[in-house]
């Protein structure tokens, strides 16, 4: 009987699950190849960066094919992971982003030859972790995914080994991260214990049972524990999302880490965490008994979103280091994106959820669209920072004075990214923000606090204008000091930033690209709510 069990497991894995796991497997294979090649000194023949880039591109292509073939949702690996458009969207998103980041590191040359296999192994490993976060269907996978994404990130932040700032940043990150992981794990243990299962697709059902088919209220100690556990899990995710008040690691880690790593963490780990947060909350939603509780969480997230974006935007004002400023900017943007999740929760757990399929989809679609645009605009900004650092050895905003005269392509890209980050048309950031604000506005029909959230979001957009424009003003209006180091980029680097800038622009004003992405994001968002076909 036991051998039969093993046989079934092997069959299931080989014939079925591994196919869904193809993109991740390619990345794993690349990691193995990276490490092996150094062992047998092949890395002197093939640059490891090229190998890593190839692996990332293959994963992108595989994910692209999955996007066209995936229909409905299925669990695999005995129900630990789930495969649907939503997973595939994140797979595609993350592997594309990985490829772009590797391309950036090739251009800037940040990991030296000696360390590059380690660095790329960490990078790829973290990406796999983030993919698992987005595909998790079990509380254990939730934890494993977060840890797999976090642990390599700690190492990457500290990768500039000889730099005091880097080691300090890594230490802060690892301690903070480990603490948050501990909190989250405690939450997981409470949920799993109280509801008696780790399978996320069963959580809503179990909650109803715990609440004795009534409305889940905090008066019931079991429900209270579940609520506590849910909150603790969300604290762990809030750490990954750098939501206030769990954002403290973020400015310090970003300032200490190299800009390439900063760019990677700001986009990729946030994307994975949002995927996970959405999955986790959706798992609890959709059942009348938990509706009131989840609406409360939704409003709570709305409050957190308000505080986060206000804090991020205000704190970015006085910064002189551009990486630190961008770190606060990512905090603020996490707040914007959290608005969509909040609106989604409020709508999904309202009395009319059945009629609101379209609107709920639009919330998630807006979030996914925002993430895609955010990929290009934030990576663009960090890429500019990294490229300039290679010439001026400085990351102070003041050292950017008058760069337009020396490197116009770089500055134009920066203008595109910054203006898109503010959310001014015709750039992609505007439409992404518009979609999210629109969803929040609709959610206002179900709870008044959403209007407050919307108002705060709009005010924050205005506030954010100033610190972004300060950078642009420095770059464009001021004169370049005579003693400043010259920044003259080779063509390839201009092409790279030009490409990112072009995408930021195109996502805003090229209807077919924007529409295409919108459709994909919409489908991916829709898939998460569709019925799950359990493992065969």
């Amino acid at each position: 009987m036991f051998s039969q069990l093993i046989q079934n497991l092997i069959d299931d894995t080989l014939k079925y699950s591994l196919g869904y796991f193809e993109a991740e497997l390619w990345l794993c294979a690349t990691i193995v190849a990276l490490l092996l090649f150094r062992l047998i000194s092949v890395d002197r023949l093939i640059p490891t960066s090229i190998l890593a880039l190839t692996g990332a591109i293959v994963a992108t292509v595989v994910a692209w094919f999955q996007l066209t073939t995936t229909d409905g949702s299925e669990t695999f690996f005995t129900g630990m992971l789930i495969h649907d458009q939503f997973s595939v969207y994140f797979r595609l998103f993350l592997s594309l982003f990985l490829a772009l980041t590797i391309a950036l590191t090739i251009l800037t040359g940040i990991p030296d030859n000696e360390d590059s296999p380690d660095f790329y192994a960490l990078l790829l490993g973290a990406t796999v972790g983030m993919m698992i976060m987005a595909t998790a269907n079990n509380l254990l996978m939730l934890f494993i995914g977060v840890e797999m994404a976090s642990v390599p990130s700690y190492a990457m932040v500290g990768f500039l080994k000889g730099r005091r700032a880097s080691s300090e940043a890594a230490l802060k990150y690892v301690v903070y991260g480990a603490g948050a992981a501990g909190v989250m794990l405690y939450g997981i243990s409470l949920i799993a214990g109280m509801l008696g299962t780790g399978d996320m697709s069963l959580l809503a059902d179990r909650l109803r049972i715990v609440a004795d088919n009534g409305v889940a209220g905090l008066g019931d100690p079991e429900v209270r524990l579940v609520a506590l556990g849910t909150m603790l899990v969300m604290v762990g995710l809030a750490f990954k999302l750098s939501l206030v008040p769990f954002h403290f690691w973020c400015p310090d880690a970003f300032e200490g880490a190299s800009a390439e790593v900063g760019g990677f963490l700001s986009v990729a780990s946030k994307a994975g965490a949002f995927g996970l947060l959405v999955r986790f909350l959706v798992a609890f939603s959709g059942d009348p008994s938990g509706a009131e509780l989840m609406t409360a969480f939704g409003i709570g997230l709305g409050v957190v979103a308000m505080v986060t974006m206000t804090f991020g935007n205000l704190a970015a004002y006085g910064q002189s280091n551009i990486k630190r400023m961008l770190a606060y900017s990512t905090i603020a943007h996490a707040g914007y994106m959290l608005m969509a999740v909040s609106a989604m929760l409020v709508m999904q757990n309202s009395a009319h959820a059945g009629d609101l399929g379209q609107e709920i989809n639009a919330c998630l679609g807006g979030l996914l669209y925002y993430l895609a645009v955010y990929l290009f605009m934030n990576l663009g900004a960090f890429a500019v920072v990294a490229l300039i650092r290679n010439y001026t050895f400085s990351e102070e905003i003041d050292s950017y004075a008058g760069l337009i005269r020396q490197s116009p392509a770089l500055c134009v890209c920066m203008v595109f990214c910054m203006i898109s980050l503010v959310g001014i048309p015709p750039f992609g950031g505007f439409f992404a923000k518009l979609m999210i604000f629109g969803s929040v506005y609709k959610a206002g029909d179900f709870h008044w606090s959403m209007y407050v959230l919307l108002a705060v979001g709009i005010v924050n957009t205005v506030i954010s204008l100033f610190y972004y424009l300060r950078v642009l003003k420095t770059m464009i209006i001021y004169d370049r000091p005579a003693d400043a180091r010259a920044v003259r980029l080779p063509n390839l680097e201009n092409v790279y930033v030009g490409l990112l800038g072009a995408f930021v622009l195109l996502l805003g004003c090229a209807p077919f690209i924007a529409d295409g992405l919108n459709v994909i994001a919409g489908e991916a968002a829709g898939s998460i709510f569709s019925a799950i076909v359990t493992s065969r």
Binding site: V175, Y176, G179, G217, P245, A296, L314, A316, G318, Q319
Partner: protein, 787 residues
């Protein structure tokens, strides 16, 4: 039929080629060796020359297609049969049959025109090709399109314009050659410090403008609707403006260009009114549709009902009544445009000033083609003119021809003499058209184009040879220095004067002027009240001969008056004399055969159908419009009178300027009053100045005064008030609004700084915040969420 597609295609090519030339010359004329290359000229010549070939082939194709029927029919019968004026049945017969029954040739040509659709079915060839090249837009019932309307008149005009333009382009290549430099010194223009203007040569630009002009002119001739005519009408106006002002540095040139442009605008205003009437009441601009829609009875009268309205069937099939007066307005409006363009009284003053342009321009634009466009349009629009309008046209023409001729007698600038002569001759054409001599007027248009462009080119050759001296009193005896120019000029002079040995040899001008004078005579015989319409042209025939021979004698005959100029004079190079010879041949021979000749017969082929028989008076006192037969009756008599006048004018000129029997300065002193009056051009400029300019200036001064004293005061007062208000506003802004804004900004910024302080950088504190955060959130959750 071959012609149906071939002819329009050929003419379209001939029309568009100069536009291509213009584009090429304008875009690339500057490149390379900049202004010292001749290829733009060759490019222009190639374009217009090809255009000429196309036109010629089209003309021949047309003749072939029609079997030269117009020409044959004439040769077969005597000129004095005219008994079938009111016999419409014969209209349906074929030309051969007509000829065999010894029918009148005029009849035959009349029916070839297809304005009368009834006859068109029986006509063996279409005398009109019309169609649409491109539809620009449809606005309700109004279709704005580029059409073509090709009859024999179009073909003749095309051939004439392209031929003359080719000759003039060639001539200009020699004439303008001093522009072939990067450092052209304009001796007639001065900078503010009194030096001559130095500028790069504008050789390419000259030819680009010329090409543009050719395009516009050909488009005007080809146009198939009156609106298209208007568009190209304005285009030739622009070209004229550009070419008159070619030497922009000279103030006189700029003024002349402005004058020409503004004078033309006055006429065009009338043209626009005419267009509006036509569109509102006929609903179409198409010539063919317009001509069909106006009903005429068998005698050629426009049919009116009891209310004096004309029942018109529009092209869309509906019929409506048009007040007769509106037809007058439409006709007078369109004619107003023609007055401006053809420099007729009272808008004639711009043309002499237009001689500021280079001489080839004067030859092409301001004598042969553009100014004749007014006459052409009158001819083209002829079926729409009612007798009242025709009478106006006749009188305007008569006044103009006399007026201009008298001024020409005393003018001393060689080009101005020719300019006044042009005005006068255009007056002849208008008169001819006005007294119902449709073919006669257009006949004169063609012949005049040849001999006048010839004479202008000759004058250009003289000016070129004498180093830009234009005053005739400084010339004299140039025949010895420039024999070709003198000879060809003489041919032109004889042609315009109408000298001939009847029955033996006669140049073109004799025939065409005869035709006009004969029509005028027939007209006044039928309408004795309008005797001036014959007397003035007859008298002017003498004056014309006088001033033209005066010009020739002054310039080429006798002893040199200015030895310096004479010594440096030289015959022009072949590229300038060859066009002279070609044009001289045409000036002498284009009208061979007179009214039995090919040219006249070709034109007759397009004559509106009601012209041939004349229009008898319907009521007592109304105008009688003479038919061909009536004209033919008096032709010999009129020709004799005209010849007599011309010969006496010539003799007088010879006595005064050819021999030295009369002291000219004495005569001038004795006739000082008249001389002064004439040389001041009848004080027209002064009159206009007093009538229009001064009142406008005075009114403007009045308004300026009102502005300054009243309006300005109000404005200043309100401005002062605004300043006070805005001072308060500023105070408010700066203290309250700005203060608020700054306060908010400072608050945000300082809160940002404050928030920075939260980020202490202490790890232990961070970790503590996790704990505190979790506990705080939990507390919030439990306090806010109901059980």
């Amino acid at each position: 039929m071959v012609g149906e597609t071939l002819i329009p295609t050929l003419l379209t090519i001939a029309w568009l080629l100069p536009l291509l030339g213009f584009a090429v010359e304008m875009l690339y004329g500057r490149k390379g060796e900049r202004t010292t290359t001749k290829w733009p000229a060759w490019c222009a010549v190639a374009c217009i020359g090809t255009g000429f070939l196309c036109s010629l082939i089209a003309l021949l194709t047309w003749g072939q297609a029609t079997g030269w029927a117009v020409l044959e029919s004439h040769d077969l019968h005597g000129p004095d049969q005219h008994h079938s004026e009111d016999d419409p049945h014969h209209h349906g017969d074929s030309p051969k049959h007509q000829a065999s029954t010894n029918e009148s040739g005029w009849q035959m040509t009349a029916l070839t025109a297809t304005e009368n659709s009834d006859d068109a079915e029986h006509v063996p060839f279409p005398s009109v090709y019309s169609g649409t090249l491109y539809t620009l837009g449809v606005f309700g019932s109004l279709v704005v399109s580029i059409d073509y309307y090709i009859d024999s008149l179009t073909l003749v005009m095309f051939t004439m314009v392209t031929l003359i333009a080719t000759c003039i382009h060639l001539f200009a290549m020699g004439y303008m050659s001093d522009e072939l430099t990067n450092e052209y010194v304009d001796h007639f223009a001065h900078t503010s410090d009194g030096k001559h203007v130095h500028r790069p040569g504008r050789f390419y630009r000259f030819f680009a403008y010329m090409s543009l002009f050719c395009f516009s002119m050909l488009g005007l001739v080809l146009a198939g609707n009156i609106f298209q005519v208007f568009v190209f009408w304005e285009l030739v106006g622009i070209c004229s403006y550009l070419l008159i002002g070619f030497y922009t540095e000279r103030k006189s040139a700029g003024d002349a260009a402005n004058k020409a442009f503004i004078m033309n605008r006055i006429g065009d205003f009338g043209f626009l009114i005419g267009l509006m009437v036509v569109w509102t009441w006929f609903g179409t601009f198409q010539f063919s549709e317009l001509f069909d829609s106006l009903p005429r009875d068998a005698t050629g009268h426009i049919v009116t009902n009891d209310l004096g309205e004309v029942a018109v069937s529009t092209h869309s099939g509906e019929s409506r009544s048009i007040p007769y007066s509106l037809l007058v307005v439409a006709g007078l409006g369109v004619f107003a445009g023609c007055i401006g363009k053809s420099a007729q009284f009272p808008l004639q003053t711009w043309l002499p000033d237009a001689m500021e342009g280079p001489t080839p321009v004067s030859a092409l634009v301001h004598s042969a083609t553009m100014v004749a466009a007014g006459v052409y349009l009158v001819g083209r629009f002829y079926p729409m003119f009612v007798p009242e309008v025709l009478l106006t046209i006749a009188y305007i023409g008569a006044i103009t021809l006399f007026l201009a001729a008298t001024i020409a007698v005393v003018a001393t600038d060689i080009k101005r003499v020719l300019a006044y002569s042009t005005i006068s001759q255009l007056g002849y054409m208008m008169l001819g058209l006005g007294v119902f001599g449709w073919a006669a007027g257009l006949f004169h248009l063609i012949t005049h184009a040849f001999f006048k462009s010839l004479m202008f080119l000759c004058s250009g050759s003289v000016i070129h040879g004498c180093h830009h001296e234009q005053e005739m009193p400084k010339m004299g005896g140039l025949m010895r220095k420039m024999p070709i120019t003198a000879g060809t000029m003489l041919i032109g002079v004889i042609a315009i004067s109408g000298l001939a040995v009847p029955g033996l040899i006669a140049f073109s001008g004799y025939h065409s002027k005869d035709a006009i004078v004969a029509t005028a005579l027939a007209f006044i015989q039928a309408n004795p009240a309008h005797f001036l319409l014959f007397l003035l042209p007859l008298l002017t025939a003498g004056i014309t001969a006088f001033y033209m021979f005066r010009l020739w004698f002054y310039t080429f005959f006798g002893e040199p008056r200015d030895q310096h100029i004479y010594d440096h004079a030289h015959e022009s190079p072949w590229i300038m004399t060859a066009p002279l010879l070609v044009l001289a041949v045409f000036a002498a021979g284009c009208a061979i055969g007179g009214e039995k000749g090919m040219l006249y017969m070709m034109l007759l082929g397009s004559e509106p159908v009601h012209v041939a028989n004349g229009v008898p008076a319907a009521t007592v006192g109304e105008l009688v419009l003479p038919g061909h037969s009536a004209i033919h009756d008096v032709h010999a008599k009129a020709g004799m009178w005209a010849l007599l006048a011309a010969i006496s004018g010539t003799l007088l000129a010879y006595v005064l300027y050819g021999t030295k029997t009369v002291n000219l300065s004495d005569m001038k002193r004795q006739l000082a009053g008249i001389h002064q009056f004439l040389s001041e051009k009848w004080y027209f400029d002064e009159l206009y100045h007093a009538l229009f300019m001064k009142p406008v200036h005075q009114v403007a001064a009045l308004f300026a005064w009102i502005d300054r004293t009243m309006i300005d005061r109000v404005v200043h007062a309100s401005a002062g008030l605004m300043v006070k208000i805005s001072k308060w506003d500023r105070f408010f802004d700066e203290t309250f609004v700005d203060g608020l804004v700054n306060l908010i900004a400072r608050a945000t910024f300082s809160s940002g700084i404050l928030l920075k302080a939260v980020q202490t950088g202490r790890l232990r504190q961070y970790v503590m915040f996790i704990v505190v955060g979790v506990v705080a959130l939990f507390a919030v959750l439990f306090t806010t969420f109901p059980n």
